[in-house]
């Protein structure tokens, strides 16, 4: 159990922290009030509201600068190879086939020249990329 002195010290620290927090909150409120007063004086918030109601005028653009006729002086450049990020958007390599039996086949296939034998021709193959996203391969039907 804390001693009486320890209890007095803890009460003193709590009162000090509460006072400090109240001071910081009052200071923040005053700063916000000040900023709002500046915007009102400059009319920025009103202009923003009006701009939402009107079509902004097209800004005039200056003509592009025509480069000077003549040879471009030689110069040196430098770059560093940066590997493509593993994922940003699209298919993430590697892609793999999770289930062979999920393949779909064209009803015909690729016939031998004598028409007696038929090699199977895939119609669709379902693949999965490195992120687990499904990738569908769709093949054209062989036309003998």
């Amino acid at each position: 159990m804390a001693t009486l002195e320890q209890q007095r010290r803890a009460n003193g620290e709590r009162i000090q922290n509460e006072r400090r927090a109240n001071g910081e909150r009052i200071e923040a409120e005053r700063r916000a009030i000040g900023n709002r007063m500046v915007e009102e004086r400059t009319g920025k918030s009103v202009a923003d509201d009006l701009n939402r109601l009107t079509t902004p005028q097209q800004q005039r653009r200056s003509l592009p600068t025509v480069p000077t006729v003549g040879a471009v002086p030689a110069g040196k450049g430098r770059g560093e190879y940066v590997p493509k990020a593993a994922t940003t958007a699209g298919i993430a390599s590697p892609i793999s086939e999770p289930d062979y039996t999920a393949r779909a086949w064209w009803p015909g296939g690729i016939p031998s020249t004598d028409g007696l034998l038929m090699l199977p021709a895939a119609k669709t193959i379902v693949m999965s990329d490195a992120n687990g996203a499904e990738v569908m391969f769709e093949y054209a039907e062989p036309t003998p």
């Binding site: 086949w105 009803p107 015909g108 690729i110 016939p111 031998s112 020249t113 004598d114 028409g115 007696l116 034998l117 038929m118 090699l119 199977p120 003998p144």
Partner: protein
């Protein structure tokens, strides 16, 4: 983009275990073998197959590369030999390409079996899915059934019997139809023998198998393509009308004059008497007329045309003769004068100018042809004409003595052989017999029914003794010719005439050796190779 080409590009004549490729090189392959011993036709048999999706598309560059490499991509396949080899294996069956795209192997082991022609046919054939590299194996059973094979003997005077065999002799390229030949081997399979015959198989009829598929279920129907009667054709064997004539020898008429010490007897020759038994009897044949040995439409082969119709190969034979064996003219003249002494009976011949004989000239002419036809068109024909003239005198006053000369002329395919033979007194009385041989130059043998059944080994005889025996030569299921076996002295020489194949013929004739019996027709290209001394087949 050209179509992917895959399958078998190694096409050509297979001989000596090597495919003769178009670039001049060769490629090893297994030669088809016989199913039945010494049936060489089974080594050259070919069957065209073409699936519904068959096709070839090659660019000029690809074609050039194919040619250089000896490859030939074709939109068809050949089942080689009676074992039906495909892709280097004995398929032992053909492929039925169903309308739904499925392909089914039809095994011939269940079809090419001994049968009893008088019994209903019922063969269970297990079809197996063919040509798929994925999916489950599948089989189904179809039954080839027919109650009446229409194999009753057309002429019981020579019964071919009811024991026979079936073989596949042709199919349509999609395998939906097949012709089964009902046949008997020319040389019986049993007991085993080393003998063989160039015709190999003697057809008795044909059945047609038609396959159909509905919702993947295949069914088969069997019909009679040619009955036995249709296969045998017709025959006409006619003999001329020979009658027997006879006459009786009469004693000479005696007139005796009394001359005092002797008698003068005059014996005058008397003509033969028509009746009576006063003397010895002479008889002879008379008559003649038209003789005929005709065989028409003896079918040897049946196959499909490119349009799917049926085409017959048949033998027609005609041997006709006209014979005249007229009644003889009798000459009975002169007399014998003799003196007979009364005292001792001694006889002295004073004169004798008696002459009594029968004379006539018998003549016969023959015309012969042996013809191989395809769809009624003559492919090959052997023709012969012959004539015989026999002036003859038969002496009555010296019984049995005959003076005769036989003049013969036989021409076979433009080659003429003649003979003038003086016949001695030993010449058989056949000249006067009731059964003269008026078909001396064509040996057919047997009855008309037997002649129809055999249709082979017809022998022509030259007066010199040389013979030419004609028989069909079955190179393969779709290539047939006539072989001429010339037997002169102890030597045989052979000539093979033009050959018939589906839709056409090879018009050449060639001298060949006894064992040059191998041949094969390419149903894909129409090429023919024959008269080879070693087995050949197209692949």
């Amino acid at each position: 983009m050209t179509r992917p080409a895959w399958g078998n590009p190694w096409r050509g004549l297979l001989v000596g275990g090597q495919i003769q490729l178009p670039n001049g090189s060769t490629k090893a392959a297994t030669q088809p073998t016989v199913i039945n011993a010494r049936h060489w036709d089974e080594m050259g048999a070919t069957f065209l197959q073409r699936g519904p999706l068959a096709g070839v598309s090659r660019s000029a560059e690809e074609l050039a590369a194919d040619t250089a490499a000896g490859r030939t991509w074709r939109a068809d396949a050949i089942l080689s030999g009676q074992r039906m080899r495909l892709y280097g294996k004995n398929l032992a069956g053909w492929i039925y390409c169903a309308p739904d795209g499925a392909r089914w192997r039809v095994p011939t082991s269940a079809i090419m079996v001994p049968i009893t022609t008088s019994a209903p046919l019922s063969l269970n054939v297990t079809l197996r899915k063919f040509g798929e590299f994925s999916g489950a194996d599948a089989t189904q059973v179809v039954t080839l059934a027919l109650a009446d094979l229409q194999q009753a003997d057309p002429d019981p005077s020579y019964s071919a019997g009811t024991a026979a065999y079936l073989t596949v002799c042709d199919i349509t390229p999609d395998g939906s139809k097949a012709l089964l030949m009902i046949y008997q081997p020319v040389v019986p399979f049993s007991p085993p023998s080393t003998a063989w015959h160039p015709m190999h198989k003697r057809p008795l009829g044909w059945l047609e198998v038609s396959l159909a598929s509905v919702d993947g279920v295949v069914s088969a129907t069997v019909t009679v393509a040619r009955s036995r009667a249709q296969t045998m054709g017709t025959a006409s064997f006619i003999d001329g009308n020979i009658t027997t004539a006879e006459g009786y020898i009469q004693p000479d008429a005696l007139v005796r004059a009394d001359m005092g010490t002797y008698y003068e007897d005059t014996l005058t020759v008397q003509p033969l008497a028509a009746t009576g038994d006063l003397g010895s009897r002479l008889d002879w044949g008379e008559g003649g007329g038209a003789y005929e040995r005709v065989i028409s439409g003896r079918v040897l082969a049946l196959w499909y045309t490119a349009a799917g119709g049926l085409e017959e190969v048949a033998i027609n034979m005609s041997a006709t003769a006209s014979a005249t064996n007229p009644p003889p003219t009798e000459s009975a003249t002169g007399s014998l004068v003799q003196h007979v002494q009364k005292s001792d009976g001694a006889v002295t011949i004073i004169s004798d100018d008696r002459e009594h004989y029968l004379a006539r000239t018998s003549v016969a002419s023959e015309a012969f042809s042996y013809t191989l036809t395809r769809a009624g068109t003559i492919i090959d024909q052997v023709t012969a004409v012959a004539s015989t003239s026999i002036p003859q005198t038969r002496w009555v006053t010296a019984l049995g003595s005959i003076d005769a000369t036989e003049n013969d002329s036989v021409t076979v395919d433009g080659e003429t052989n003649t003979r003038s033979l003086v016949l001695g007194s030993t010449f058989p009385a056949a000249l006067y017999s009731a059964s003269p041989q008026w078909f001396p130059w064509v040996s057919i043998g047997g009855s008309a029914a037997e002649g129809l059944y055999r249709a082979t080994d017809i022998t022509l005889l030259f007066p010199s003794g040389t013979t030419i025996t004609l028989t069909p030569l079955r190179y393969s299921n779709n290539l047939i010719a006539i072989r001429r076996d010339r037997h002169e002295g102890a030597a045989h020489s052979y000539t093979h005439g033009p050959a018939a194949f589906p839709g056409g013929s090879d018009p050449s004739s060639a001298a060949a050796s006894l064992d040059a019996v191998y041949g094969s027709y390419n149903p894909a290209t129409g090429e023919v190779v024959r008269d080879s001394t070693q087995p050949v087949c197209w692949i």
